[in-house]
């Protein structure tokens, strides 16, 4: 009955499909939240659809469910492929799939009824935390054993990032979720904010970033059919990432009374983040140099390269907004919401989608049902997200400047109303993009032309 769990690459495919499904779920919750910021009486007084409960469902489902799940699926394919071996244990990967998705499902199923720990990005209740940690530990074991049985001697940069993202998460997640306090998942007193934002920042930084970087390092050279620009740069980017990123969570509570030395460290290292980001972007850019037509001509490559562009924008904006004086205006308002969207959907999400479309034929043995639908998805999400970024950044500047000049939060609400309406409108494009992706994925698996073994071999060898 459960023989499917032994089929090669079945777990990778399962992660990809789950990611596409969670994208739709997350986008639906995002849409309702956006509507509630325009019209709070829309679906009023329905317990499982109040803003305070639907927002964390949206955020967590997008982070863990869409981006995290889909990129993990990609890695489960490319890690063994790059090591010229099979995944150590397919059933074990399915077990990880089960635990991981149970945690993600505890968002919509639990938060809707106030079963949450309520700390941003650490909301999952204790038992769901344990489930996620189990999934990660099993993945680590599985990946290390795959490395052990490899036939390719060299470890390609994507392998480092993929393995490391789980090694770091296995330490990060339990610390920040304070798993030794099961009932609250929190430390008492102000110090909790330091624990909280340790993961709050490392979730994008040491889980999603390495997952997405690994996938980009895999996809771009394959599409351009050129070798990686520089091994040294990849090394520098990798080590700088972990050395700097871990220190900067404090910039989320920069204006709260945490110790000054922590603020200083977080600001200095936030600025220093420009270094690893530039290295990664430069390295990939140089790899694709002279091959732009191949990258932008391939819908999957376009999504991945689009993700790199968003990465660059995000990581120029991020260090800037950690500057204390600037943060007086940019903190607590929609500026940050805009930043979070280009980081998670722009950088993580684009690369997840691009890598997924690139890898899907390799794990399913079927040609993508429609490349035009992939292009359409790219177009819809790009329009929606660009509008999001511009609208939310502008709304944030209006709020922040007004507050800083003495206007009250309540007084400024009418000023952001037109922006909240535009945001909800652009959300429709992103929701449609997610639906088209799921539709295209479904038709690929049901109706996509089956690739001949020769074609598959040629595709796999492209690296």
């Amino acid at each position: 009955m459960f023989s499917f769990v032994k089929k090669p690459q079945s777990a990778a495919l399962a992660f990809l499909i789950a990611g596409a499904v969670w994208f739709v779920v997350g986008a639906l919750y995002g849409m309702v939240s956006a509507i509630h910021l325009v019209a709070p009486e829309f679906f009023s007084n329905i317990p499982f659809l109040v803003f305070g409960r639907e927002r964390p469902i949206h955020v967590n489902t997008m982070l863990y469910g869409f981006t995290g799940t889909m990129l993990t699926g990609c890695g489960l394919y490319y890690l063994p492929a790059l090591l010229r071996t099979r995944l150590y244990s397919e059933p074990l990967a399915w077990l990880s799939f089960l635990f991981w998705n149970l945690t993600v499902a505890s968002g919509p199923l639990g938060f809707s009824f106030a079963y949450t720990q309520g700390r941003e990005y650490n909301e999952y209740i204790w038992i769901a935390d344990i489930s996620l940690i189990l999934a990660v530990v099993l993945l680590i074991y599985n990946l290390i054993m795959t490395i052990v049985q490899r036939t390719e001697q060299q470890l390609y940069v994507s392998v480092w990032y993929f393995v490391a993202s789980f090694l770091w998460t296995a330490g990060n997640y339990p610390i920040s979720n304070v798993v030794w306090h099961p009932s609250t998942g929190a430390m008492p007193g102000l110090i909790d904010s330091i624990f909280l934002w340790f993961w709050g920042h490392n979730l994008p930084g040491l889980l999603i970033t390495p997952l997405a970087t690994g996938a980009a390092y895999f996809v771009i050279p394959r599409i351009t059919r050129t070798p990686l620009n520089s091994h040294t740069l990849s090394l520098a980017g990798f080590w700088f990432l972990v050395a700097l990123y871990t220190h900067i969570g404090g910039h989320h509570v920069l204006q709260s009374p945490i110790p000054n030395w922590l603020k200083t460290v977080s600001v200095v290292d936030s600025i220093a983040m420009v270094v690893p980001v530039s290295i990664v972007v430069l390295n990939l850019w140089m790899t694709a140099r002279q091959e732009g037509r191949r990258v932008w001509g391939d819908p999957a490559g376009r999504l991945v390269m689009g993700g790199i562009v968003w990465y660059l924008i995000t990581c120029i904006q991020g260090p800037l907004q950690s500057l204390p004086y600037l943060q007086r205006v940019t903190h607590f308002n929609n500026w940050t919401v805009g930043h979070a969207h280009i980081a998670m959907l722009g950088f993580g999400g684009y690369i997840a989608l691009g890598a997924m479309w690139h890898i899907l034929p390799l794990v399913s043995g079927r040609e993508i049902y429609s490349q035009r639908l992939v292009s359409l998805q790219f177009g819809l999400i790009t329009f929606g997200l660009t509008a999001f970024f511009l609208v939310l950044t502008t709304a944030g500047l209006i709020q922040g400047s007004a507050w800083n000049n003495g206007e009250t939060v309540y007084r400024v609400l009418p000023e952001i109303a037109p922006f909240m309406i535009s945001r909800a409108a652009s959300g429709i494009f992103i929701l449609t993009g997610s639906l088209i992706g799921l539709y295209n994925l479904y038709l690929t698996l049901r109706q996509g032309r089956e690739l001949q073994p020769v074609e598959l071999l040629r595709a796999e060898d492209a690296s």
């Binding site: 509630h36 910021l37 709070p40 009486e41 007084n45 329905i46 317990p47 109040v50 803003f51 305070g52 409960r53 927002r55 964390p56 106030a114 720990q117 309520g118 700390r119 941003e120 052990v148 470890l155 392998v159 480092w160 393995v163 490391a164 090694l167 330490g171 990060n172 306090h181 609250t184 430390m187 008492p188 007193g189 102000l190 110090i191 909790d192 330091i194 624990f195 909280l196 040294t232 972990v242 050395a243 871990t246 220190h247 969570g249 509570v253 709260s256 009374p257 110790p259 922590l262 460290v265 607590f332 308002n333 709020q399 800083n404 206007e407 009250t408 309540y410 007084r411 609400l413 009418p414």
Partner: protein, 332 residues
């Protein structure tokens, strides 16, 4: 440098855990929990409310710390680390779609909070907050207890002031419409009572006043100013019926200064909040003109005593006669 499995795994873990020790370990070892001067432990009911606050995601729209550059409610007290002792979690928040709540305790009386939780637009017409009526009376009471404790000892002082003034306000209301207005007027300092509205009640001014009325006042005082907005049935004492003011003008002439003072400062103990943080001078005077013209049928705009007209003012004749002198022309 060649990446081997050992270097990858051991190196990645070493750098990570070293950083984790610096960023989380050292603060855990060195940060001391010393209560600040406003700190006190929370009661069981306040704790229950805190849990509701956390579990229902209030922190996605409300922060719990005041920064040095803040002006809104609570801005009198910039957060100190000792304010959060023992709170688990001390949920600071990352967004202000609604105001910071770290000093919310005692800003309003309990009945205001009840109306506000049932439907935030009852008290704050343009609020984006969801209705929490579905939580039921017990949980709304717990949430109210928690919100009233925000600010701890400083909140207790404010709550005590609310309670102190609630009794005479309720008694005045029970004394009948006229006694109520007399009591309300007696709380306004003498110098404000004979102060006419210095702003001419032009069409533009009345339009601005109307907009402010709709954004701030309408759901308590009602669209026709009779005090029967949707919040009416939650408030004790209920919102003022403006139409009763007509027979209580000071010396049958003055009302502007009283309006201004009460809007600016609020009436502590009742649901009437102070608006001086939201509205600056001209907006309050425009609102006072709108209230007078729309609900009293009279405004004291521009009558004596008055000084030199402001430079922008066009010649303006007060067309609103004093009560009992209909047809007579007052002012200049």
């Amino acid at each position: 440098m060649k990446m081997t499995p050992a270097l990858l795994i051991i190196g990645a873990l070493l750098v990570f855990w070293a950083s984790a020790f610096i960023i989380v370990g050292i603060p855990a070892l060195t940060m001391k929990e010393t209560p600040s001067e406003i700190w006190r432990p929370m009661t069981a009911e306040e704790e229950a409310g805190h849990k509701l606050y956390v579990r229902n995601g209030c922190s996605y729209c409300h922060s719990l710390f005041i920064r040095i550059n803040d002006w809104d409610i609570g801005a009198e007290r910039i957060a100190k680390s000792g304010d959060y002792v023992g709170q688990e979690p001390a949920i600071l928040g990352s967004e202000r779609t609604g105001p910071d709540l770290s000093q919310e305790g005692g800003e309003h009386p309990d009945d205001w909070h009840l109306a506000h939780f049932v439907n935030p637009r009852f008290t704050s017409p343009i609020s984006l907050m969801p209705s929490w009526e579905f939580l039921g009376p017990v949980e709304i009471r717990q949430l109210t207890a928690y919100v009233q404790a925000l600010g701890l000892k400083a909140a207790d002082a404010r709550v005590a002031r609310q309670q102190h003034w609630k009794a005479p306000a309720v008694a005045a209301y029970a004394g009948g419409l006229d006694a109520n207005v007399e009591w309300l007027h007696s709380q306004v300092p003498e110098v404000w009572r004979r102060m006419p509205n210095p702003y001419p009640a032009t069409e533009a001014s009345l339009q601005r006043g109307k907009r402010i009325y709709q954004e701030f006042c309408i759901n308590c005082h009602g669209p026709v100013g009779d005090g029967k907005g949707p919040a009416f049935r939650y408030m004790n004492p209920p919102p003022l019926n403006f139409t009763t003011l007509r027979r209580h003008l000071v010396e049958n002439r003055y009302i502007g200064g009283i309006f201004y003072y009460q809007i600016m400062n609020g009436i502590t103990g009742t649901g009437m909040p102070y608006f001086k943080k939201h509205l600056e001078s001209e907006k309050i005077w425009d609102l006072a003109n709108y209230l007078g013209v729309s609900f009293v049928g009279y405004t004291d705009a521009n009558i004596e005593p008055r000084g030199i007209d402001a430079s922008y003012e066009e010649p303006w004749q007060n067309r609103y006669p004093q009560p009992g002198q209909e047809g007579a022309v007052t002012g200049k």
